[in-house]
């Protein structure tokens, strides 16, 4: 029984009121109720219906008191923490559309050099069409972020947005605003899967301290992980080797990388120097984000006291009805 109660999450809000249950014995035991004196009840017939009415009267009184006591103790059921496993991830793709994305990769060994944008687009398209259970959204940014597709199951919109990037990039790299916009789309949604921000960018940008704090706070609130696919340009710096102290400012990518590392959220960087590297990076990412996410959801408990109040009300109504049928005067009317 108790296991059953445990599993259904039944419980009492304030069990102290249950002491009033003792009072439920009173109607069963009381003998001092008003009655007409009669010289000899043995002369009267024992009537089945009357006996049952007497029993009904006693039990209705008892039940009314008992249910009131239970109702006052506030029974509920259904409070349980549901363990849910989220399979699909929520991925916001943050795609850099700055002018530098039109350049080719750092690895110039290949003659048919594909532009970084084209490579990213191709790989992202296959990524989008492969991800079955995910919710996807996309934000592109150059000088300012543009919402392309809000977080949702609509892959066609994302694919269309990716195709639209064929128009070529322009402007600067406003990473912070793009990330901020992407993170905004997680706001107020249930965490039913891993949240990931997939930043595809070929360069860094300098973030001031205020923006850094704001972004950090947003990352923490949304609990999103960050994957940065760094498409290294031909003249771009690698993130692997730290630059000299005096020319740190010349490498905003490395500063961004350091900042991301200091975020305190799940952060991975993939430095891609060729289209193949981008594919590998995305394959890696899709594997990572597909790890099932366990999360607990508290199901709202249901207050059951109204049931007991209802029973008590019915019992009281029965008592009142019996009271109305009671003979007030021992006389033929």
């Amino acid at each position: 029984m108790s296991e059953f109660l445990q599993s259904t999450g039944a419980g009492l809000h304030s069990p102290a009121w249950l002491f009033l249950l003792v009072l439920a014995l009173v109607p069963l035991m009381v003998r001092g109720h008003a009655a007409f004196p009669y010289p000899s009840v043995s002369r009267l017939p024992e009537d089945e219906l009357s006996v049952w009415i007497e029993r009904l009267w006693r039990w209705a009184g008892s039940l009314a008191i008992a249910t009131l006591a239970i109702a006052m103790s506030g029974p509920y059921w259904g409070e349980q923490r549901l363990e849910k496993v989220g399979r699909g991830a929520h991925v916001m793709i943050v795609l850099d559309r700055s002018a530098s994305m039109n350049d080719s990769f750092a690895d110039t060994a290949k003659s048919d050099s594909e532009s970084k944008m084209a490579a990213a687009r191709r790989v992202l398209q296959s990524f989008v069409s492969q991800s079955r259970e995910d919710l996807l959204g996309m934000v592109t940014f150059s000088t300012s972020p543009i919402l392309v597709a809000p977080l949702g199951g609509d892959r066609e919109a994302v694919l269309a947005a990716l195709r639209a990037t064929e128009a070529g990039g322009m402007g600067f790299t406003a990473v912070a605003r793009g990330l901020g916009m992407a993170l905004d789309y997680f706001e107020g949604r249930p965490v039913t899967g891993a949240r990931a921000i997939l930043l595809v960018s070929d360069g860094g940008a300098h973030l001031d301290v205020k923006t850094q704090d704001l972004l950090r706070e947003m990352f923490h609130r949304q609990g999103a992980s960050l994957y940065w696919v760094y498409l290294r340009s031909a003249n771009g710096a690698s993130l692997k080797d730290a630059p000299e102290d005096e020319n740190r400012d010349a490498f905003p990518e490395y500063q961004l990388h350091e900042y991301f590392q200091s975020l305190g959220v799940n952060y991975h960087v993939y430095e891609a120097e060729s289209p193949q590297a981008v594919e590998e990076a995305l394959a890696d990412i899709s594997r990572l984000k597909n790890q099932p996410v366990k999360y607990y959801e508290a199901a709202a408990r249901q207050d059951l006291s109204w049931v007991f109040y209802l029973i008590a009300l019915l019992c009281a109504a029965t008592l009142f009805a019996l009271h109305l049928t009671e003979v007030k005067k021992w006389r033929a009317v």
Partner: protein
């Protein structure tokens, strides 16, 4: 209270009393009454006024015979009251008041016809405070009436002493009015009637009309036994009230049979009001 006059009824015995007191009833005592007893030789009863010449000519050997007569004598009339708690019942009439009225009427009627009256009351013990020894003095009826009205009927007492009330009675056959509601269990009633079977018992049954006739038509009522017999729930309706009336009618018949079995007279049922005329008719018819 001095001006109170109880109702008077008339009773007659169908047996010859034994008693020396002159009174109105036929006795076995030979004497100067008007009840012809037989012819006796003149020398046994030398009263020339009773000389029966016709009978003297008829007897062989021829001698004078005289008529002899029985004396008319008085008896003691007892009112035996059941003062168990159920007699406190007051429905359409107060049973205690009825007790007082009937006892006073008996006392009045008895003393008016020259008999002595005695009051015995019983609950679980014989009530000595209500006992009044046989007497024919004037004012006895009023005194008895007052005494019964002033008495308290005890709480939660039965009538277990009724069979033992015979110890308070004179051994000679007397007329006893047993006044009770007869809500006694069978065993007690049987013992009571058998202990009084040497006497001439007139059961007077006090039933209130609200006990069985004047019931509420419909509704739920709970009744409590006055002598601690528990509660009973009654959902009164037509069938149940009919059933109750039926049980009381059945009880009436049972009582008649039981009284006949123990040599008592047919019970006289008083409902709400005591009418001495009805009692007279009942007694004369039965006698």
């Amino acid at each position: 209270m001095t001006s109170f006059t109880p109702q008077e009824f008339y009773y007659r015995l169908h047996w010859r009393a034994r008693g020396a007191q002159p009174g109105a009833h036929a006795t076995r005592t030979p004497g100067s009454g008007a009840d012809f007893a037989g012819h006796v030789p003149f020398m046994d009863n030398p009263d020339p006024r009773r000389l029966d010449l016709r009978a003297s000519l008829r007897v062989i050997p021829r001698r004078y015979v005289v008529r002899s007569f029985y004396e008319r004598g008085a008896i003691v009339v007892y009112a035996l009251l059941d003062t168990s708690t159920s007699m406190r019942f007051a429905g359409n009439a107060e049973k205690k008041r009825l007790l007082a009225d009937i006892a006073a009427a008996i006392a009045w009627s008895a003393t008016r016809s020259g008999d002595a009256f005695s009051l015995v009351a019983c609950d679980d013990v014989v009530r000595q405070d209500l006992f009044s020894p046989p007497s024919a003095r004037r004012g006895l009826a009023q005194e008895v009436h007052k005494k019964i009205l002033a008495t308290d009927i005890g709480n939660n007492v039965g009538a277990q002493a009724l069979p033992y009330a015979t110890e308070q009675l004179r051994p000679s056959r007397s007329l006893i009015f047993l006044i009770s509601d007869f809500h006694l269990d069978e065993e007690l009633l049987t013992r009571t009637l058998s202990s009084f079977s040497a006497h001439d018992v007139v059961p007077v049954v006090l039933w209130d009309s609200s006990e069985y006739k004047d019931l509420p038509n419909w509704g739920w009522a709970r009744v409590r036994d006055m002598e601690g017999g528990g509660d009973r729930s009654l959902f009164l309706r037509r069938s149940l009230t009919q059933q109750i009336q039926q049980q009381y009618l059945q009880r009436k018949d049972d009582l008649k049979v039981l009284c006949r079995k123990f040599g008592a007279r047919a019970p006289f049922f008083v409902e709400d009001e005591f009418d001495a005329g009805l009692l007279t008719r009942h007694l004369l018819e039965a006698g």
